[in-house]
Symmetry: C2
Subunit: 326 residues, 2 copies
Amino acid sequence: MTEKAGRSVTRNDVAKLAGVSTAVVSYVVNNGPRPVAEATRQKVLDAIRKLDYQPNAAARSLITGRADALALVVPDVANPYFGALALEVEFAARERGQTLILAQAPDNHHEVIAELGGGVVDGLISAVWPDEKVLRELARRPLPMVQVSIMTPELPFRCLQPDYHGGSYEAVRHLIGHGHERIALVTGASASEARGLGWAKALAEAGLVAGPVVELSWSREAGYEGAGRLLREHPDVTAAFVASDNQAIGFLAGLHQAGKRVPRDLAVVSFDGSPDGRFTIPPLTSVRVPIRQLARDAVAQVLDPNAEKLGVVYPCTLVVRESCGC
Amino acid sequence: MTEKAGRSVTRNDVAKLAGVSTAVVSYVVNNGPRPVAEATRQKVLDAIRKLDYQPNAAARSLITGRADALALVVPDVANPYFGALALEVEFAARERGQTLILAQAPDNHHEVIAELGGGVVDGLISAVWPDEKVLRELARRPLPMVQVSIMTPELPFRCLQPDYHGGSYEAVRHLIGHGHERIALVTGASASEARGLGWAKALAEAGLVAGPVVELSWSREAGYEGAGRLLREHPDVTAAFVASDNQAIGFLAGLHQAGKRVPRDLAVVSFDGSPDGRFTIPPLTSVRVPIRQLARDAVAQVLDPNAEKLGVVYPCTLVVRESCGC
DNA sequence: ATGAAAGCGCTAACAA
DNA sequence: TTGTTAGCGCTTTCAT
């Protein structure tokens, strides 16, 4: 309801005050679908202003079948990558007159989607890996979903994704260009995920043996511990490619804790290019994901009912700062 | 609308399949307001399951007058403090069956509030300073609002706020305990804001002259530049109290860039206690705001229609890490 | 160019 | 305990 206290002003009140029918009010408010004489329009506009009329969203939604709302599902907004994504998606959504519902789901988002039933939203933008249950939920209630940063080629979702492979490849090439020969991979995924593959390819191409792989979770904490582990188990390593900025921040802290200096003792390049990397010590060389573009496109896609199922891959560029040794 | 393709299943379909009236379906779905025989209830439940019935949110909202949704307004979710706040508010809202709408408004949130008209939300949690226009908007459309981290005693809003004064006082006392005598204040507000006051009080109590004040914006960039400025203009300073973690992160980077070591050359303590401080170099000593508690209470308050207008101040505790010299 | 009226899906007051 | 029914505020078809 529009008002909390007292009766809210409805289209009826406006019609009465303006001396027109309720239909005309509707035509004016929505700029259609029928034309309205300029004089009448003004009367209506005046009445609206005078009464502070605000169309009721629920009533409109009930009849139009749209909610003019989107949901963004991320594991955790406090993660700088997802925070940046949320920031951009929110702007993009507002720009298109859509309200943004934020939902966090650490791993699977079945429950979240279930809660979003009943037409609360017109579509979903998700950065969380879909599992069986999600699929079933989505199948029964065909809510358009576009995935961001997540690629599931075998599933019928549109996927907008950074070029993990290419970006990682470039990052590692850069490290190789600095003369490193023992380059570790620190990742939250398995080494066979795209970032790992890019890393491996660059190494192989340069005739280098694949360095050690440190697999851990995507958190800062994990990055921190990964540093200790790497130093302990592979003291010969001179550089590391870290699969996310979030981990890299922890990794840098772990290195510092262990008394190592970056890039002198160990060079670091990471993935994401989030703004946070500008203020780490030293500033982080990182593969920049075009988050704003990705966000804009995700909103556009989910709003476009006859968009094709497709997988778009966004080129990423290396932002060179200091952690690589430049 | 519940379904995108085809007709959606409505309460009518359920009633038909279960062989009961639509009212009974309603009673079952809402657990009231009338009792339903157990056998009947089962029939209805079965029908619901069979049809995958999902009550239409708009229709319900239209009649109940509630949207079961809250909006959180912050300047910028990518800021670690507001990110953490959003994270906690989202959880708290979901826990109470409320959907969370995220809205960002860099400075004033008049437009955002205007867009949230028509009963899209039942209440507002805002961390943005309200200006004239907001007040006027809120006055005409009495949407419950609770302010978080923002205190406006002269205005009729409930305010939940960290103990900026007390927390800052403790932080600076700690610095004094380390033997510092020239302690700067680096802030995004004026020096007469609560954090500045706490800083000044601690200094005065210890018989120290108030150190230099560096006023800048709340961004990391500003913190970075603030470091250079402080070093240049006040080389005698040996410690700094920074009013937010976000700025402190930039400040640390700026110090590093200038070749200064923390805490050896300059000790730093900041305010917020966001998780990010654990992974800075060195780890940040910071005044921890009980964000989760604040978030929970904010949600509870905004949902409680007969809560009093009140200003709650949350005690903060100093999290001692390394940047202070400990 | 404007108006009357039929619902959208649901809740709840009222009847039975 | 269950059914009937009157709206909630709005959009839009169909008359006028």
